[in-house]
């Protein structure tokens, strides 16, 4: 077998700790305990290896990456290794001191998440009183520091009618990029799907709003927007293909082809404590099993889009069909495509909108 091309990006989930409790968090229901987290030295070693095997960008994520006190040191280390550094944060811990330390470390970009356009909605969906105000302050600090800002708005059934106000907020904050991100239904979001999945009418509304905003803001603010899988006719190329572009590392050091992969049965995800990143990328079962097209069933195998969407998402195939090796049901050619429409009908019928908040120390089924 020929060697795979080098990976492009490293998603470093530094911790699963987070001050927020978003019910659509993409972290697994079973989170890594704080005492299992990799040390600063472990991460330094990982970053050096990442640069050596061709990774170009590192995305510090979580949980809340700023809950790790060594984040500025890790940013500085990554920067010295030549990596482009990005932080994906809720912003509630981004004080003046933290901002200064990150700048000194050479941070290249910060993505700041918002739960809503309003204080009331933001604090409620984030489960953190005063959080929205802190995010606004964080956005100002990022701009004052001269850094580019991406404002990320996660949308769902319960806040989608404020999408215009979200885009207006992003403009006010002078974001360079905006992401209008439909909730991705993995982890906590899958658990809460019936209270989150928007209706067809809501989706049509947001599609029209985003299209108009894109035209208006062209060349000034780029808006990333993807229709949710449940309404799509084609699957997304999850992570740009399995083991094709990204390595995700969990707080305890497990390497995953995507952040949700721990839900997949029958896998051993190698740890950076025991195996080199190069070996993991090139030879591990976890990264090679669904790489490329050899593993594909029909209709993927004969499909002219097999190297565009790479068969879609393995975690979604498992969650929806019970079989990790089937075609992603988001695809209109998939034998299980009707399951997506069924989920929409179920969510439409749901009148109770209670959400199970994400918590580190409470099993989801309590």
């Amino acid at each position: 077998m020929t060697q795979p091309a080098p990976p492009m990006g490293l998603i470093a989930e530094l911790t699963h700790r987070c001050p927020l409790q978003c019910a659509y968090c993409s972290n697994p229901l079973q989170m890594d305990a704080p005492k299992t987290e990799l040390s600063t030295d472990d991460w330094r070693h990982v970053l050096d290896q990442a640069a050596a095997i061709g990774i170009l960008q590192v995305h510090f994520s979580g949980g809340e990456p700023m809950a790790r006190r060594d984040l500025p040191e890790l940013v500085a280390h990554a920067s010295r290794a030549g990596l482009y550094t990005n932080i994906i944060t809720s912003g509630v811990l981004l004080t003046d001191e933290a901002m200064a330390a990150l700048l000194a470390g050479g941070i290249d970009h910060i993505q700041l998440s918002f739960q809503d356009a309003t204080h009331d909605g933001g604090d409620r969906f984030g489960g953190y009183r005063g959080g929205h105000e802190k995010k606004l302050a964080a956005a100002r600090r990022i701009r004052e520091a001269g850094l580019p800002l991406t404002a990320n708005f996660v949308i769902h059934k319960q806040n989608i009618e404020r999408v215009e106000a979200m885009i207006a907020l992003g403009e006010t904050l002078e974001a360079e990029r905006m992401e209008i991100a439909h909730t991705q239904y993995y982890g906590w979001a899958l658990l809460n799907r019936n209270a989150l999945l928007p209706s067809r009418e809501q989706l049509d509304y947001v599609n029209a709003v985003v299209e108009a905003a894109r035209a208006r803001l062209k060349g000034r603010i780029a808006i990333d927007y993807v229709v949710p899988d449940y309404y799509a006719s084609r699957p997304k190329a999850c992570m740009g293909g399995w083991g094709n572009r990204f390595i995700n590392i969990s707080p305890s050091g497990k390497t995953l082809p995507c952040h949700a992969a721990e839900t997949l049965p029958g896998f051993t995800f190698p740890s950076v404590r025991e195996t080199s990143l190069r070996d993991i990328w090139q030879a591990s079962d976890a990264f090679t099993r669904f790489r490329g097209t050899d593993w594909m069933p029909e209709p993927c195998r004969a499909c002219d889009r097999r190297e565009i969407d790479w068969g879609g998402c393995r975690c979604q195939a498992l969650a929806m069909t019970g079989d990790v090796g089937r075609t992603d049901p988001a695809c209109h050619r998939a034998p299980d495509h009707d399951l997506m429409a069924q989920a929409v009908v179920e969510a439409d019928a749901e009148t109770v909108l209670d959400l199970v908040p994400r918590r580190l120390h409470q099993a989801a089924h309590d």
Partner: protein, 94 residues
């Protein structure tokens, strides 16, 4: 409409650099990454925040065997594409 007097500049957060592992130039931007083709690499190397599109086209026309008009069309198209994706600004001189 972009004119040839516009001055392209990389936006904050965009980094154009050589990657030794791939032996290729890469354009890194906020949560985006581009592998420019050979022609785009030659264009991007000439962006310094002061040089106009006109000057970039002159430079390329002097080095490559192609009609100046054709080069100009290609350069404007490539820069407009990257501007739309948020990696460049194309400022008209005031």
């Amino acid at each position: 409409m972009t004119t040839e007097s516009a001055v392209p500049a990389f936006r904050r957060g965009a980094k154009f650099r050589f990657d030794a592992v791939r032996d290729a130039w890469v354009l890194l931007a906020p949560e985006k990454l581009f592998m420019p083709d050979e022609i785009a690499v030659e264009i991007l190397k000439l962006i310094d925040g002061t040089r106009s599109i006109d000057a970039i086209v002159d430079d390329l026309a002097a080095r490559f065997e192609a009609p100046r008009d054709m080069i100009a069309t290609d350069v404007v198209a490539a820069l407009e594409d990257l501007a739309t994706r948020g990696t460049l600004t194309l400022a008209e001189p005031s």
